[in-house]
């Protein structure tokens, strides 16, 4: 397994916003992802999870961002693509679904027209083939009466249906990598679980790789194979889902799990992380979590730990990785 | 988000002023306007000669003449002095109607926006009638009906601007009124007047103020336009619009001189606009 080249590899990615609001959004982020794997990027607001995702599609304005590092997706050097190659890359190799599907669709065209348009833009097929494919996609995302919904405008669909239509749009050109930016956050609980199950099913069926960004540990557990926990623009810990949930090594991961309310907490005070998330315009010199960490030492406050692979599991394709001077044993 | 080190509170306008310091274009415009205003206000002391003194011998002297730095007009009056004195009326035409309309328009808009419902609809539809006419046409029509004269043109311009400012104030008020902090204030059991004074007014004034700043240049141009048409200031009073009109005949002989009042109108209104732009972005204090 480890001999196969990963589908996605991100190496030492750093990103700073240089516009009106200066911020060091990402610092030295590295991870890789094999074909058919699902990686959950877990973090709170300002952790850099969404920025990472958008950088993979180069969605940030180049004038106001400063990027360094290397992103390779399916053999392509993403940061070096010219605008024509970038267009082909977006949608065909990699596509994205968003938190608010209302913003991803153009309100003046029907759902069907927009899916057909995407297919025609990326593949040399005629209109009727594209139309047939679009209908098939709507069927596959389990939209009832797909033929009727094909001619519906985005505002005529309910939130859950719009999200399904967006998944159909994203998967229309059979991408190898799907980027999901909190696609279930804005949905009701009973709809959220339907969408999670659908994504899981489609992922198994197509064998695509998925990067699933979320702040909800429960959603990540439902869909991901591995979870990378982000904090202050860095990766704090990365491990298989079971490892993260059952044996968190980073104090932040442990704190996050402790702060996640569930039935076992009733009647007891919650274990909470003191303080607030870091200010990306003014990051502390050491570990970004040090000011809120109960086991922080002087070393943590001055020197930032780098992400290291666990030597005990070096034989695995994706060994657990951790950035902490004082991990929880 | 601010750094934790900053402890003391600072007033809203202090923050705006602080941010305005980072807008070089707006600062330059402000400086330019200050110079123009000072020149106009202190014209009686600063002007090199009498703006009314005609001289048939020295008609249409070119720019840079020994006694007349900016030349003379078609009646031999010193251009520099006339431009300085003319600024007094032109700037008054720019500022006074907008200020009056700001006070009246904001009051009506606040009331309509906060009350909402049918009363709001009646007020706004009535103002829409005025809104339907282009402002130039409306100003000319009102001025024409009232007869020429400076007071009448000030009044006409005020009437032209009121509907626009009401509309801005009303729409901002309607937005603010729906925000949770107004609901929270209502939860306190406070009277409407207190809520408007403490919670609505401060948040509406900003956007309306910015819009009004943008109107200053429009008002000045319209005022000059009225004078140009003979509906505003009467000769021989110096006023930029009127000067532009009377110098028309000299446009082939001394085009530079003829263009001077126009240039003043242009520079001043551009400066007003750029300043308004700067104030707008400086007032944009977000999370």
């Amino acid at each position: 397994m480890s001999a196969i080249k990963p589908l996605v590899s991100v190496e030492h990615l750093s990103l700073a916003f240089t516009g009106n609001r200066k911020a060091q959004a990402l610092t030295d982020v590295s991870f890789h992802l094999h074909a058919g794997e699902v990686l959950g990027l877990l973090g709170e607001s300002g952790s850099g999870k969404s920025v990472t995702l958008r950088t993979l599609l180069r969605l940030h304005s180049e004038r106001t961002t400063q990027i360094s590092g290397l992103i390779t997706v399916d053999g392509l050097d993403v940061l070096a693509l010219n605008s024509r190659a970038l267009q082909a890359y977006r949608g065909a190799t990699t596509s994205m679904i968003f938190q608010e599907p209302g913003l991803a669709f153009d309100p003046v065209y029907t759902i069907g027209q927009q899916i057909v348009e995407v297919i025609l833009a990326h593949e040399a097929v005629n209109h009727s083939v594209a139309r047939h494919r679009a209908l098939e996609m709507l069927d596959r995302v389990q939209i009832p009466q797909a033929r009727r919904r094909f001619d519906a405008y985005p505002h005529e669909l309910s939130g859950g249906m719009r999200q399904r239509a967006m998944i159909a749009l994203a998967l229309a050109c059979k991408p190898k990598l799907l980027l999901a930016d909190e696609p279930t956050t804005a949905l009701d609980a009973t709809v959220q679980i339907q969408i999670l199950l659908l994504l899981r099913e489609l992922q198994k069926e197509t064998g695509m790789a998925v990067i699933f960004v979320t702040h909800d540990i429960g959603a990540a557990v439902e869909i991901a194979d591995r979870i990378a926990v982000m904090y202050g623009g860095r990766i704090a810990e990365e491990n298989a889902v079971a490892g993260i949930v059952q044996h968190p090594s980073h104090p932040y991961t442990a704190g996050l799990l402790g702060a996640t309310v569930d039935s076992s907490h009733r009647g007891k005070p919650l274990i909470s992380i003191p303080g607030s998330p870091p200010n990306l315009a003014n990051l502390p010199p050491g570990c970004p979590f040090a000011p809120r960490c109960t086991s922080a030492s002087d070393q943590c406050r001055t020197e930032c730990p780098s992400v290291v692979e666990s030597p005990a599991h070096a034989d695995l394709a994706s060994p657990p990785r951790l950035a902490c001077w004082h991990p929880i044993r | 988000m601010s750094s934790r080190a900053r402890i003391s509170g600072r007033s809203y306008w202090f923050v705006v002023f602080h941010q305005l310091k980072h807008e070089p274009v707006a600062l330059f415009s402000a400086l330019l306007l200050l110079l123009i205003f000072l020149a106009a206000i202190f014209a009686p002391w600063l002007a090199p000669s009498d703006p009314y003194a005609t001289s048939m011998i020295h008609r249409l002297q070119p720019i840079g003449s020994p006694d007349h730095l900016l030349g003379t007009d078609e009646l031999g009056r010193d251009m520099l002095s006339r431009l300085m004195f003319g600024g007094r009326l032109s700037l008054l035409m720019g500022v006074a109607p907008v200020f009056m309309a700001f006070v009246i328009g904001t009051s009506i808009g606040l009331f309509a926006g906060y009350v909402g419902g049918k009363i709001n609809m009646i007020i706004m539809r009535m103002l829409d009638v005025f809104y339907a006419f282009p402002s130039v046409l409306l100003a000319v029509a009102i001025s024409g009906a009232l007869g020429p004269g400076m007071m009448n043109s000030l009044f006409a311009l005020t009437l032209v601007f009121i509907p626009q400012l009401v509309r801005v104030a009303e729409s901002v008020t309607t937005q603010v009124r729906k925000l949770d902090y107004i609901e929270a204030a209502r939860m306190s059991g406070a009277r409407s007047f207190s809520i408007i004074r403490v919670h609505v007014l401060g948040n509406v004034l900003g956007p309306v103020f910015v819009y009004a700043t943008g109107l200053l240049s429009v008002s000045m141009i319209l005022g000059s336009g009225l004078s140009f048409l003979g509906l505003g200031v009467k000769p021989p009073e110096p006023e930029w619009g009127l000067m532009l009109n009377t110098l028309r005949s000299a446009i082939f002989k001394e085009p530079l001189i003829a263009a001077l009042p126009g240039a003043m109108i242009f520079v001043t209104s551009i400066a007003f606009n750029l300043l308004a732009d700067g104030v707008r972005s400086a007032m944009d204090i977000k999370r």
Binding site: G159, A189, V241, V245, L257, D262 | D180, A184, S188
Partner: protein, 343 residues
Amino acid sequence: MTPIILQVRNLKKYFPVRANLFSREQKFVHAVDDISFNVTKGRTLGIVGESGCGKSTTARLIANLMPADSGAIIFNGEGVGEIGGLELKSFRKKLQMVFQDSFASLNPRLTISETISYGPMVHDTSKEDAHLQAHDLLAKVGLDPDLFASRYPHELSGGQRQRVNIARALAFNPEVVILDEAVAALDKSVQAQVLNLLQDLKAEFELTYLFISHDLHVVHYISDDVMVMYLGQIVEMGPVEQVYSEAAHPYTRALLSAIPSMDPAHRTQKSPITGDPPNPIHPPSGCRFHDRCEHARAICASLVPALMPVQSSHVVACHMNHPSSGYETSGSDVQYASAGATR
């Protein structure tokens, strides 16, 4: 028996909508449709439901932020806003509300201390006293008054702003506080801090909470009683442990089993219900849940079920709850597993 502090009787609110310019038929969103419940002093009533179920409208109706079409709010035995009842201004002091959006609920032009002291000043507290009280309250909600009193909302983080909103509500010395999705917009780590704070304040000030949320975990954690709403109606209500362990309404069960599992070895395999919640403009006839319910029978489409007791204070509105229906309400298939046990 602890006294009932707040009674809601037959509350109803329809919002008119105009379908299109030319249609003469007036349509309504059935936001809150004839609901009645009691809130016991010193307890926390959690209200859960999906978007459009009317939970936030219920909060606004109780808080008198909008007029109800019909129904009554009775506070401590006195009808609110009725002749001979409790005056609205005094009611305002006794019932306060904290909103979801911590930023929109603070006036950006007022300092923190001005915001907190505004309310008491409306009720004739002197400016000096109100500011002193604001300082005390800031300390109570865990914000250093010397550091925060003269700051502006945009200089605070989301969690800090929500603490300010709580302090503002407490400035009235209220008896009931409505928390409308008050922790929903906060990061998980900060959410836990605020939930702890709410629990501490409840004990210290002897408060009664109405806790509105879509997050079933949070409602379970903080509530004593829970009320489940669906399309403007109450479908189930009772003590929280009983409702969560022995959910009697199919909708409550669906909600509970829709919670992600937190155990990678036992992921959710099947979605409990399909489809989205229906449009509240045309709620289904009979039981409003019948078109998504796998147990629905003919009677469900024709007859509106009434709230009937399952046990003493646990009530449910479902025809299948009737013993003769043959439908079991043991709740054994509810997969609401505690994640703590799996860790």
